[in-house]
Symmetry: C2
């Protein structure tokens, strides 16, 4: 159906679309995928020919219904495989990304649905990212950031904006994971760094860190 490269572009556009209201720019795609802008333009035209994106010269792209649907199946596969790797194969949450990047391109509808069943229809992956269902519906994402809590408030860690291995390793070192309860003890006035209580332990987090942690109840 689609090449691996086409699928990677679709996924990139899908992710970039969430942070922008207009079209997704050529340069943002080229930065994310580490290619040159000219390569992106070429691929984007190919995707437009296949009706996967709407493309207006100089104004970026956005996914069509069909493009979004396909992007969601890739995201679904990626996140389901991450669950499998962490929950069943003892991978750490910071080791799964590269493997899931390969597994997400395996083509078999039955495989995805049986895997989903086997994992008992998880709603969130090990990083707290929502898993689309077979029809492309995304569970609600927790949008409140730890940095939005006031002194004395508390929240339960529900996900992360930055899923990089570096950030995840940092969190592991502070014993912060999905489900960890975090109470804000103090917010430093000058740099907005936070002193917090996470599972009995007092820790200190920069604004950069608190901006990348989503909380709920």
């Amino acid at each position: 159906m689609f090449t691996q490269s086409e699928e990677n572009y679709l996924k990139a556009i899908f992710h970039l679309q969430q942070d922008v209201d207009g079209g997704v720019s050529t340069s943002s795609i080229s930065e994310l995928l580490q290619t040159k802008a000219a390569s992106v333009t070429e691929m984007v035209k190919k995707l437009a020919d296949k009706k996967l994106v709407h493309y207006q010269k100089y104004y970026g792209v956005h996914l069509t219904e069909s493009g979004r649907a396909h992007a969601l199946t890739i995201v679904r596969k990626h996140r389901l495989w991450e669950c499998f790797l962490v929950d069943r194969l003892n991978f750490n949450w910071d080791e799964v990304h590269e493997v899931a990047e390969q597994l997400e391109h395996i083509k078999s509808a039955k495989l995805v649905e049986e895997l989903d069943k086997f994992l008992e229809h998880p709603l969130y992956d090990p990083h707290g990212d929502p898993i689309p269902d077979a029809d492309g519906n995304l569970p609600k994402r927790f949008k409140k950031k730890l940095s939005e809590l006031k002194t004395g408030e508390q929240g339960v860690c529900k996900g992360f904006k930055d899923d990089s291995s570096a950030f995840l390793k940092f969190l592991a070192k502070q014993d912060i994971g999905l489900g960890t309860a975090i109470k804000v003890l103090n917010i430093e006035a000058f740099d907005e760094s936070v002193t917090a209580l996470a599972d009995q332990k007092e820790i200190s987090l920069s604004k950069t860190a608190t901006n990348n942690i989503y909380v709920g109840n």
Copy 2:
């Protein structure tokens, strides 16, 4: 490391090597992989450059130690994934091949070893084919064919020479699977077809069929 195509050639050579004593011929590879002989010659030279095969013009190839080792890792992955698909994801044994052909190319040493552990170190895949261990040791294969049994003798089905979907579907229809006890009731003199008792049921099998069924005790 290696491309998917290179891995497919290695695997093909590995399988063909088991049925021949000399080198594996260009034409047998081209027939198995559905390509032209000229393409095979080209790839074989590439593999020889990489020291994966020994190649003598006009006399075929055979795997080097390194080539065999790599072929075995692919076979290991293929068969482990088949176990996973059948034992954990409810695939039928005749549906797993194409998916396993994709999964066998996923590159992650940790994934293979964790999958093996998760499956509790299976020795044989769902078709009775032996699974190489992490060091490339193959469990013994059952070599006795059902066609070698005499009237009145009985054996337990241990594997199949022909793993094609067509043959596996045929077997399923006769209720023959791994572990099925089969007793030879009669061997027809003129075409060597066999009447047998398989799990209480009387069935009739052609010579072609009995030649493709391995039995043990």
